[in-house]
Amino acid sequence: MANLFRVEIVSVESRIWTGEAEMVVARTTEGELAVLAGHAPLLGQLKEPSRVRVRTGDEDLAWDVTGGFLSITEDGVTVLAEHAEPATGEDPAQALVQSPTH
């Protein structure tokens, strides 16, 4: 069992999701990264549009995010989005592969 850390996904108008996760995968303007527990503090701007995937202990969640930033601190991961909605499409991982990589 991997270590868990706190994840918070907030949009301007509401808190979208908060909970414990094993891994967060997101794509910043510099490239894709996966965050595990104990990641070094990092602040990144997410690619536009962008899909954020969260693996909790027993399920995979994904959101499509616009105007997003990713903040990693020792307290956990915060995704700040102007707008976020649950990802549509079949398998989030598949959809990510298919999504344009401009």
Binding site: E13, L42, L43, Q45, S71, H83
Partner: protein
């Protein structure tokens, strides 16, 4: 007499239907307050998160960003006034406009030219009626603003602010040919409680960098962040978003205040209607009773007169 009773009955009916309207508006406003407050609460996690992020950034990035730097000479100031689209909200609009006027007077005293930006139909009407130039106006969302509305306003304001950077001293527009502003203020009504809403004026840009309490952080120092892309590029992206967030916060705060003001005004109107219905009903009953009494006394008087004349014969 009978005519007067009918008139009174008509007035009671009118008052009663007005009361129905004000009562309905009171109930609608009451439910909107709760909704607006829920939205204020829902926006807090983001504004807290973006403040945290900016705090971390400010310690790493250079803070000579145009949105943070006070300009050496402020020639023009932009004032954003947030009013409502509809009236029937008591002194809500009058109060916020009065505060805006005070701010404008102060800015003019300091030798600044004022550019007006207005949200809400009531404010637009107020300034248009007085032939005051409005730089920008947005209407139709005062009761239920969305972030998209705030962003639209924010983009226009930031554009004006950035355009003001290269204006030359004698009032010319500078190389970009657009007259911009050197300061941005926002006047909106802040929701204190159901009974109190106070208009407040805040400076939006250049942003006042608040020295944050590092002691609040458990480890005593802010984490040494890595940045993707560079800290300065991130600041460029984040600051406009932060301003939009501030405008959004002001909008939802104003929406809650507007509903609270309207609820109170409509409650007062309903109470007045109740009072009036009571008075009119009493008046009508008294008039009706008076006419009945008079009719009886006329009949009795007539009968007595007949009886008296009969006995004399």
């Amino acid at each position: 007499m009978a005519g007067s009773v009918r008139q009174l009955r008509g007035r009671i009916r009118t008052t009663r239907s007005m009361r129905k309207i004000t009562k309905a508006m009171e109930l609608v406003a009451t439910s909107r307050i709760a909704k607006a407050q829920a939205r204020v609460a829902a926006s807090l996690p983001y504004s807290k998160a973006i403040t945290d992020v900016l705090t971390a950034l400010a310690s790493s990035a250079s803070i000579d960003h145009p949105l943070l730097q006070p300009r050496p000479r402020v020639r023009r100031a932009g004032v954003l006034v947030i009013t409502s689209d509809r009236g029937l909200a008591g002194g809500y609009n009058a109060n916020v406009i009065r505060t805006a006027e005070q701010l404008i007077a102060r800015l003019k005293d300091e030798g600044k030219q004022v550019f007006l930006y207005v949200i809400g139909r009531k404010g637009v009407t107020y300034y248009r009626f007085r032939d005051r130039p409005i730089e920008g106006s947005w209407t139709g969302f005062s009761e239920q603003p969305t972030f998209a509305d705030a962003r639209e306003v924010g983009v226009a304001l930031i554009k004006a602010f950035i355009a003001g950077a290269d204006d030359i001293d004698d009032g010319g527009a500078g190389v970009d040919g657009i007259l911009g502003v050197d300061e941005l203020h926002v006047v909106h009504t802040s929701f204190r409680s159901l009974m109190t809403q106070t208009p407040v004026a805040n400076q939006l840009a250049p942003m006042v960098v608040v020295e944050t309490d590092i002691h609040e952080h458990p480890s005593g120092v802010l984490p040494a962040y890595e940045f993707e892309p560079s800290a300065d590029a991130l600041l460029d992206e984040l600051l406009p978003k932060y301003i939009n967030t501030r405008i959004y916060a002001a909008l939802i705060d104003a929406a809650a205040s507007e509903s609270a003001a309207r609820r109170r005004a409509m409650k007062a109107a309903t109470d007045n209607a109740d009072e009036m219905i009571k008075t009119l009903t009493r008046q009508m009953n008294a008039t009706r009773q008076a006419s009945i009494t008079q009719e009886i006394s006329e009949i009795v008087g007539g009968a007595n007169a007949l009886a008296a004349s009969g006995s004399e014969v």
